[in-house]
Symmetry: C2
């Protein structure tokens, strides 16, 4: 009797998918040609929250096109998924699925941070953006970034921020992100255990 | 019968304070003179997690020296505190208390973000650093920043990052933070509801 239950659990979205349907892409600070949105991403594509079953749909292999992922067992993946889900209104890992082959071919994450400043405001962060390199040139990067950006606005974030390498500045600029004069420094300390 | 319970609740720390006692300041990438640590911050000072009672100890007034806070009622503050506490292993709002007058005179926050990349790693972010301007020049900024930085390492973050204005780059550089070559861009979109 456990199988159906597990089946439901494995498709359970990390967050409520309805919110993606109501994002207004006409407000996006970039144009899509042809026009697409999270609700209508194009034939054979679906934009939706991450779910547990994505472990078997190439989600981690996709991330490995972005940076090192290492050996992550299904158990580890599920534990991390559960830990994200245990933080209310925080993690919005969003994927593009190619419905013709059931593979995850794009992903980006909105992380919402709660503040005391600005009247107990919330802010958003854009993290871990990747599109399968065999699907490049189809505005899917723009689509997945704009999806979580509009999602941040929908969730009442007062700003959405990102950190990036020099070579990506023109791309993010084309999507409405700015290097704010005098306030665009990203600094870090890497600890000994740091992966590359 | 409610009062004692409320009293205990109001002093309940946002996170386990024991972890602050074991931070090894000899590992800090900056020197303190005289030597201080989170465990021994100096006479009349205490470094500890935020608690609910800090609403009445000047915590928000302190934050207003950093940026706009607005009118935040005790109810709003407690709701935000509870929301942070509801996210396991995420929010580490840390304060310095002047024990001679019971006021919160410094604060900084470590926000831990969970990832799938790097073997389901966690990273840290330094947020909302402020020291009461009448207590400047006592290395309290260094102390509170290094406290949450070492805390990030203790919690197995692979890196700790921050974003800052140009004028603060030399200060953070002196604490071991670096502008990584080709990877130090901080970009943003401010939404209409954005506070200044």
């Amino acid at each position: 009797m456990g199988a159906p239950k597990e089946g439901i659990l494995s498709e359970e979205p990390l967050y409520d998918p309805k919110i993606l349907q109501r994002l207004d892409f006409s407000k996006a600070p970039t144009k899509f040609s042809p026009p697409v949105s999270a609700a209508r991403p194009g034939d054979g594509l679906r934009v939706r929250p991450l779910c547990r079953a994505d472990y078997n749909r190439g989600f981690l292999q996709l991330l490995s096109q972005l940076t090192s992922v290492g050996e992550v067992s299904e158990e580890q993946f599920l534990k991390r998924f559960d830990a994200m889900q245990a933080c209310p209104n925080t993690y919005y890992v969003t994927v593009i699925e190619d419905t013709t082959n059931g593979q995850v071919i794009g992903s980006s994450t909105l992380v919402v941070e709660q503040k005391f400043i600005h009247g107990c405001a919330v802010r958003g962060r854009l993290e871990d953006v990747v599109v399968n390199n065999t699907y490049r040139g189809k505005q899917l990067g723009k689509l997945i970034i704009m999806t979580v950006t509009l999602l941040a606005e929908e969730l009442n974030c007062y700003k959405m921020t990102l950190d990036c390498k020099d070579k990506l500045v023109p791309f993010y600029s084309s999507l409405g992100y700015t290097l704010e004069q005098g306030n665009s420094n990203y600094m870090m300390i890497r600890f000994d255990k740091a992966p590359s």
